[in-house]
């Protein structure tokens, strides 16, 4: 049980505190309800570029990192399709430094042209390093526009293309900042050695005077039900063929999410899962075979990804995967498989929440979903998954018409 207290400021900032005095440190996690799904389709990658700008200094903090380091802390951030998330871990007696820093960049960020120019260049290199200069690095740049036709999940958080980052300007940066970086779009979660009433007082002091921005409801196009099999083939300079198959499923709060999250653990969460046992060891079709949920808030994907052993025909490999998935739609998983998945869930959850930083993020994320207490109650949502639900969910999900496939092949030499 992760206990916490909650408080909302009058400007809309939600504050959550979990006291864990087994650590001398404290983590502040500030989650902004803004991700790449909130971008203009002609200016993608912006939310992530903006995350970089958040480290470029604000009115009272010329260099963001300096006070963090002086306070003995470390900090970072990430952007995904749904959110942008910032965290600072530092000795508990310097907690107020973190709140001061976060409040200053929430309200008075330096958005000068020169800062923007540098970060555009850095992000361009990040795009190259992580997506273009890596064998298999562009798979998600290919998969998203194949699986999605209208929803903004059709682009990755890094953006569709380097050219979008190159043309970002400071006017759009200001607009993005005003619209999304406001206390009413943020959740502040604090975990570690921290007394709730003290944190609430500090939050009032540092964030209380920041005005909320006008709340503009998020209106995103709903992805229509996929009704036809989609498939593309690409050739790249890679040594082995990779097969990617993606199926549409429900959002983070749907029942299907929990059913399929547990199911994918049964299939490939550990070495004795069905896919490593059957597709890798017994049939020797793949050298690895993995299936997982993309995990977004809006309806997401179940993604299979496997690298073929040399000499294996991709159609044969694909048929074998479909065969395993179809079996799930008719035959129940065994009691032993369910028991194993539940045991694993229990211990992996404990491992994850050993870290105060993970608890801080988990609380903020569940609060965004609707209730921070989800961090505690979602155990029941996993433990209650039945073999019948898995059959039902599999039958609806793993159909050919709901599937987008990439055949990622070595260049013909």
């Amino acid at each position: 049980m992760i206990e916490f207290e909650r408080h909302a400021l009058s400007n809309g900032l939600k504050v959550i505190v979990h006291n864990d005095d087994s650590t001398p440190m404290v983590t502040t996690n500030l989650l902004y309800d803004a991700g790449s799904r909130d971008e203009d389709p002609e200016a993608t990658g912006f939310a992530h570029l903006f995350e970089h700008l958040m480290f470029e200094g604000s009115d009272n903090v010329p260099v963001f990192d300096t006070p963090v380091m002086l306070a003995g802390g470390e900090n970072n951030a990430f952007t995904n399709n749904d959110i942008t998330n910032y965290y600072i871990t530092l000795p508990a007696n310097n907690l107020e430094i973190a709140l001061w820093l976060e409040s200053d960049r929430m309200v008075s960020l330096d958005l000068s042209e020169s800062r923007l120019a540098t970060q555009k260049s850095v992000v361009t290199e990040e795009f190259r390093q992580r997506y273009l200069n890596q064998p298999y690095g562009d798979i998600f740049l290919l998969l998203r526009p194949l699986a999605y036709r209208v929803h903004p999940y059709m682009w990755a958080a890094i953006g569709k293309d380097i050219s979008h980052i190159e043309k970002a300007d400071s006017i759009s940066a200001r607009q993005f900042y005003r619209r999304h970086y406001s206390p009413s779009s943020a959740i502040l979660s604090v975990a570690g050695t921290a007394k709730p009433d003290v944190v609430f007082r500090m939050a009032e002091k540092w964030f209380g005077d920041i005005p909320p921005s006008e709340k503009i409801a998020r209106v995103l196009p709903e992805e229509p039900k996929q009704k036809e099999h989609r498939e593309i083939t690409v050739y790249r300079d890679v040594p082995a063929t990779q097969l990617i198959m993606a199926f549409h499923t429900g959002g983070r709060e749907s029942r299907d999410f929990y059913i399929l999250d547990l199911l994918t653990d049964i299939l490939s969460g550990c070495d004795s899962g069905r896919f490593p046992s059957l597709l890798v060891r017994k049939k020797e079709l793949f050298s690895d075979a993995d299936i997982y949920l993309s995990g977004e808030i809006d309806p997401g994907l179940v993604i299979f990804s496997g690298r073929l052993k040399s000499g294996i025909d991709i159609k044969k490999a694909e048929a074998a995967v479909m065969n395993e998935l179809n079996t799930l739609a008719s035959e129940p998983v065994t009691a032993a498989e369910l028991e194993k998945a539940r045991n694993r869930y229990e211990s992996l959850r404990l491992m994850s929440y050993l870290s105060a930083a993970n608890k801080a993020f988990g609380l903020a994320f569940h609060e965004l979903l609707g209730d921070a207490d989800g961090i505690n109650t979602e155990i029941d949502r996993y433990m209650s998954v039945t073999a019948e639900e898995i059959i039902d969910s599999s039958a609806r999900t793993f159909t050919s018409d709901n599937c987008s496939v990439i055949h990622y092949l070595p260049l013909l030499k």
Partner: protein
């Protein structure tokens, strides 16, 4: 938007490294040392078994990593699928890995499954069967990974770095070739395993809540006898070629970025300058606000990241600066790296910058000892390198007392740009 209510910033409290004491040590009846790291808050135990079975012990290249990777691929009692199913069903996680120095198996288990999981760990560590089918599968998979690595500038850059540093005949520097996968055999792995995974040639760390409760179970499964106790590593005499100087270029197909590295031989961990050199390195390229990051990422925008490290194997220290940049920035990048080094050799760092680095180190050390699981990782470094139980106490002292003059002296002694070597891996 200006803040309408600007307040005095809070005062920063100078961070302290906190408790860095070496943990309580006990022994099993066969003499195997067990280090106990308590104060866990949840019902999980992390038990790590470390064997003196790293790459440095190899006579056949890859024997160490292959033997380690094969530990869970079948035992005298169970085939690979059954064995993995037994492990996974308990909810436990087994992580096994081999590095240049030692090899280890980490088991993380729910406390209530301790005995069951410990019995499996014993089976995995000491009774692997190394079946031929699983061995072939592993090798095939590794060949795929190896071939993928040929297209990664970062991988080629790293390999060329170690080769330049240690020479190709030294187990620390040896670069894997495709032929190595063809020549390794299960016999070679069996031999490596029987020589280096012995019941009494390991040490154990136990971390979590009430770690002493694990002792009877460890005694039951791990008190067997062998031919010699875990000891301060009795190192083979390894020949290190002196690091080469000058430029090494390795072509990587159509890469859009190049890996750029610069390096020197360094000093051993027991050298009186070793800890001071850590501080100097932090200033140059050891954190987000370092000289290199500020110049090459934050001012020039040449790279997503650049950093430098100071480390040491047994018998050889090393210094490395590494980054990945667009092909057309690589010469400018090397030039800027050298400029930053020259500045640090010429001018003393200011007290402000030194304070940032000092405080950052204190926070780092506090995090390294934050909770039993982190502490277990930290003390493994102390034991494996035999750096002394007071290593971090001394380190804290060094960080607190080092002067700008000493730092400048360290740069002049160890970062001589005229005898460095440079690696570029990328397109022509």
């Amino acid at each position: 938007m200006k803040r309408h209510n600007v307040q005095q910033p809070p005062v920063i409290i100078t961070p302290s490294a906190g408790e860095t004491a070496f943990p309580e040590t006990v022994s099993l009846s066969n003499g195997v040392p067990v280090y106990l790291l308590g104060k866990g808050t949840v019902d999980l135990l992390r038990i790590e078994f470390v064997a003196d079975a790293g790459q440095r012990r190899e006579k056949v290249h890859m024997a160490s990593s292959t033997a380690n990777a094969m530990l869970t691929e079948g035992s005298g009692n169970h085939d690979a699928i059954t064995l993995n199913d037994l492990i996974d069903s308990t909810g436990a996680v087994f992580n096994h890995s081999a590095d240049k120095e030692t090899a280890s198996l980490i088991m993380i288990t729910l406390s209530r499954k301790l005995e069951e999981v410990t019995a499996l760990a014993e089976e995995v560590l000491f009774h692997p069967s190394f079946p031929e089918t699983e061995f072939r599968m592993l090798i095939d998979k590794r060949i795929q990974a190896f071939l993928t690595g040929r297209q990664k500038t970062s991988v080629i850059g790293r390999e060329e770095y170690y080769r330049a540093l240690c020479g190709n005949d030294n187990p620390y520097g040896r670069v894997t070739k495709l032929e190595d996968y063809q020549s390794i055999t299960t016999e070679a792995i069996r031999e490596f395993h029987s020589l280096h995974y012995r019941p009494d040639n390991i040490y154990i760390t136990v971390a979590g809540r009430d770690p002493e409760k694990a002792l009877p179970v460890l005694e039951k499964y791990f008190s067997g006898n062998g031919t010699g106790l875990w000891h301060e590593p009795d190192m083979p005499e390894l020949a290190f070629e002196t690091a080469k100087t000058g430029r090494i270029f390795a072509e990587v197909g159509n890469s859009v970025q190049s890996a750029v590295r610069m390096g020197w031989a360094g000093i051993s961990r027991d050298h009186p300058d070793y800890q001071g050199l850590q501080v100097a390195n932090m200033i140059l390229g050891g954190y987000f606000g370092s000289r290199l990051m500020r110049n090459i990422r934050e001012e020039k925008g040449y790279t997503y990241g650049i950093n430098s490290v100071v480390g040491a194997f047994h018998g050889l220290g090393y210094i490395a600066i590494m980054t990945e940049v667009a092909n057309n920035y690589r010469e400018e990048t090397l030039m800027e790296i050298k400029k930053e080094i020259i500045k640090l050799c010429r001018d003393e760092v200011g007290q402000d910058e030194l304070s940032i680095v000092r405080n950052h180190f204190m926070g780092e050390i506090a995090r390294m000892f934050d909770g039993p699981f982190n502490s277990a990782e930290t003390i493994r470094g102390i034991i494996d390198y035999n750096t002394g139980h007071d290593y971090f106490a001394r380190f804290v002292e060094t960080v607190k007392t080092i002067t700008p003059g000493k730092i400048k002296e360290l740069f002049n002694t160890y970062f001589n740009i005229d005898n460095s070597f440079e690696i570029i891996a990328g397109a022509k």
